[in-house]
Amino acid sequence: MLSTTLWLLLALVPLQVLLGDLHGLNTREYQPAKLAAIEARWETGSRVPLTLFAIPDQNREMNHLAVEIPVLGSLILTHDANGKIRGLKEWPRDQRPPVAIAFFAFRIMVGIGLLMLAVVLIGNAMRVRGRVFESRGFLQLCEVVAPLGFVAVLAGWTTTEVGRQPWTVYDLLRTAHSVSPSLTGTDVALSFAGYIIAYLIMFPAGILLMARIVRKGPNALAAEGPVEGGRPDHPIQAVPGTPSEARP
């Protein structure tokens, strides 16, 4: 299972990098204000640096404590060292997204992506040397890294949604104009509370269930025996090919 996953990821992770690059080019063309927010770029210019870290200041239109690599920004975003990137000052203040949120959410996503790439490369290097299944350290690393994919997805989602503000449909329909007129704040708060309650019940229940299955281990599952008398089947045993099933 681990070996299959490592092979799969060896192809998928670089593919994701390629897709991300295409996505960046696309955003630069169709939603340039989002790109400017992601990069916390205030001034339009060419040969722009890549900002690794900064604290964007929306009011003063500048970045604090910026750590930058010269020219790399243009190179990555336009595939040309002299490529021009539009800055946020090109848009009126009321048409700029909240810069800091888009900026950090994007960096969390990319940071996790690079971490995943590192884990996959390390894993495959260890496989070549035949040590991947024995190394306690690497297996524990995988365990810790496992939930990060979800974090990356949520961060990416935040980037694209917040980065598009104040628009629902970029340059056409403002978020404030796309709200149903009949819907009050109380209505939304009520339904939101409903969803929160439902998730507060479902998630712990699901995690407890999965934890119980994991703690029992794969051998315990096989030893549990056939599913008797019309009892709904175990989700994992329901996978075809598992031995303990008396299925037609």
């Binding site: 007129p181 009949s182 209505d187 269930l209 599913v227 008398g229 019309g230 709904p232 989700p235 299925r247």
Partner: protein, 336 residues
Amino acid sequence: MNTLDLVPIWTLILGLGVFFYVLLDGFDLGVGILFGFAPDTASRNLIMNSIAPIWDGNETWLVLGTVGLLAAFPLAFAIVIPAVYFPIAIMLLALVFRGVAFEFRYRDAERKTFWDHSFSYGSTIATFAQGVILGAFIQGFKVDGRHFAGSSFDCFTPFSLLTGIALVFGYALLGAGWLILKTEGKLQGFARKAGRIAFIAVLVAMLTVSIWTPLADPAIASRWLAWPHPLYLAPVPSVTALFAILEWRALGGRHGEAVPFVAALGLFLMSYLGIAISLWPFIVPRTYTLWQAASAEGTQAFLLIGTLTLLPVILVYTGWSYWVFRGKVRHDFGYH
């Protein structure tokens, strides 16, 4: 160039999509409603296994109906969905609890646990919410220009609460028909008895709605009663009555085991036709017709290409899953 009018095609697709949803998820929600009244653990397990392989596929039609409405009739979507905001939210939350019960219940199936309740209450509440949506839709909405002008609580009226309760009994009747078809012995006896109770309630509800709506809405009254309409609409109530007689006899065991289910489908079909006749040609009752609420012709044509490719695929795999799991559910094996 004179292009083809796609509105009737989309009306048909959407109409069939919603009807398939009502029939298919209707019977598995109904099975969930009856689950709460099942006599013992063994029956509960059997009841759940009778729909376990197929229930989630049935919800495909809910997605098709909603997204189809958004894409093909965006104006109707913009007015109707905010108007029934809370019933929709309640339905979705109830479906969450009902859906996970299939997965979470297995560990402790011997006892009646939280997940058993989440299955039966979830099914009942989701059904009730759908009935409220139906009732609110029949009553119509307060519209100002191109948006809903009422409050989010307008949809809760005596009439919509009645249709909510009526749909619970209606789905329970479909569910009973399904259980008669899929089970034997004691459990089948339970389904027949539950089906009879549901049937009587459904009959009362159908009569009440048929009297209430023409009294409340003159347009519906003239649609059914103005001469010569009764002449060619007469088959609707007559066929409904025939289905009702057939259903009652079949629940008592006078016909084949499939008849209670089929006759219940017939009752639903006739009610559905009745509502369509009452409201035609409106998609936002009394405000916007299907043609006024339709999206641009190019949009509808574009969507049609994808939909006509996917629909046969959905129909084939749905049919296939029912074929694979045909016959009675038994105690000695099950698929989850």
